[in-house]
Symmetry: D2
Subunit: 207 residues, 4 copies
């Protein structure tokens, strides 16, 4: 962990924590019924551990985005979302809470009184309520890079997106999620980056 | 973890981190040959995680004492001791590094430039080089409470202790280790506490 | 683990596996949304590991009872119960599958074609559908030892139990769950044992 | 794990257990000072768990090769090697114990009375005592594929190998270790396979 943090600090890349469930063999991607106290403790523990490394390397933690199943559960469960936002605030009330656009996480951040960033997904289909089509369904993912790019640009410029049922819903894109564990992830990131610049969309760290 | 930290902050008890090896089933009590980089990372990770909880509850981390096998190895291995002390300093250069009296840990703290506290053991026999008689040997432990109390008072007032071979060696007692997992631990703590007060020895948090 | 197994084999105590979720910090007591394939794998892995020790000490595995949240989820979820029963059968088709009386686990064992044992709880209140009153509700537990003993005897002799709403439901008691982690657990076990003998109820390993 | 085992059984590939230290973050590659009882328990646990999957898929465990640091420590430490061999025998006395050629593991298997297979390394330099040049030294590895192939053929046909100091030592090659986590691992495996066949060396599962 130290080396990655050192590199990020050196390059001036903003660093975020990505805390999740203590489910190593499931990579934090399986729902777990933990108490709100436990959920807060996992947040504080993991954020604190990362802050240790960041402090050592002279940086500062910038945002927190819950990971995997914790993120998905908090997007729909207001009590959980509020507990997570409270944990973030308790650790450092200047941290930005990154959550699914239109979700309970954004609402909770507002209620708790911390900054939030609405996250959109380039390669996922949306449902009418603003949630993502679950991965268990066949049309969860959008596989055509160009369609993904076009959707992101529309989300940014028009603040809307077409759902899987061809309905237009409002969405605000403060930050875009790109998964890094796909073989063509870097290629897609470059393509999207170029397309955004061509549309005169400036890219910044969320503030 | 949160509740214990909250209580300590509320009661004004100084809080220390007790980081060790990632050996859950062995409770960190088995030697592991980790690299100096890995040892530092374990320190930073565990100290950072605890600092998260302390920050949330409005307290401040006071000292760091390596746990179990990590402590024992660092007491004898100067490179390891120095790596641990460097990790402590990097996280917060006002932290006190608690180490075995007379050991490499105290020497390393001095070299690295952080405060240290020399720790003595009430119920353990010492060898001539200041190290503890290993638990694998029959006379590692002293089982008579009164002898333990007398030894501590002598260590504090005369700055010396009799080794297992009846040789007198110098020792400085900044802090005394009492294990809390023995059924009569609380009783012994009270007995020692009273005896120290009767000898007009003041008890403070290490500074 | 080896010593416990050795002792059980020596004393002729039947041995059961108690496999659960890979949730160490939650002691397997929190619901996890794992796939049926994952659930089977956890069963096979943990049963197999225990069988290793049993084989070494010359014994034979007798039954399998899922642990904690896995047990509670399988009691209500037929697909999960069936997956667990299939895993048990695949490992050894003579094993007895211990599950909550009247639950999906008993039904699944029948469907899959393995022996099952209906488990009842001495100190828990029941709901009309045969499920336990959840621990989150105030009257989940029965704290009076004599009432617990009387209930068990009635369950064994009359094959019925009064629910928390004073309705009589049918229940078959092949095996009784006593928690061992309560300070008075041994005392209660002796009391129940004596009471059962006084009622001429013979105690055997489930067959 | 289930799928890999199922495939191996289906294809008739002999299956071996590869048990190691419970050091997940270090991948079992760091020395740990565990007791002989603990070492045996880790062997039995991991072999048993694998046997669970093998039994489910209708196969049979064929051999056991300790993993990583456990292997390296046992190669030099006769007490540890004997404990591991005893654990293997206790689980199934027909299992083959795979150990470093010429090492304490082979001696221990003989003493304990189980079959062993002497393992040689295609891409590692040897020391005069038959041990491998440690990875911490610059010439631990041999990077030229053709040299590796030639060395293996010589080990098999002439039962000798040149040490890193150009001394000839005796070695018996019952089985050859190829690491699978190198990008060109498959290519090298094919090259070696072809070369062995061209030398009329038959390849079998160890018996």
């Amino acid at each position: 962990m130290g080396k990655t943090v050192a590199l990020a600090v050196e390059k001036g890349i903003t660093i975020g924590a990505h805390p999740g469930f203590p489910d190593l063999s499931g990579f934090g991607r399986r729902n777990m019924q933990v108490s709100l106290e436990e959920a807060k403790a996992y947040m504080i523990y993991q954020i604190g551990a990362l802050q240790g490394f960041i402090k050592v390397h002279g940086g500062k933690l910038h945002h927190v985005k819950p990971h995997g199943a914790l993120y998905n559960m908090a997007a729909k469960d207001y009590s959980l979302a509020k507990a997570l936002a409270e944990a973030v605030k308790a650790v450092d009330n200047e941290l930005i809470f990154v959550g699914l656009a239109n979700s309970m996480m954004i609402k909770a951040a507002e209620e708790v009184g911390i900054k939030s960033a609405q996250e959109v997904f380039a390669d996922r289909n949306y449902q009418e309520d603003g949630s993502l089509v679950p991965r268990s369904l066949p049309n969860a993912m959008i596989h055509d890079d160009q369609i993904c790019v076009d959707r992101v640009i529309k989300m940014v410029k028009e603040e809307s997106v077409m759902t899987v049922n061809q309905e237009k819903i409002n969405i605000k894109a403060d930050t875009i999620c790109l998964h890094g564990d796909h073989p063509s992830a870097l290629l897609f990131a470059k393509k999207l980056h170029r397309a955004l610049l061509e549309e005169n969309i400036k890219l910044n760290s969320v503030t």
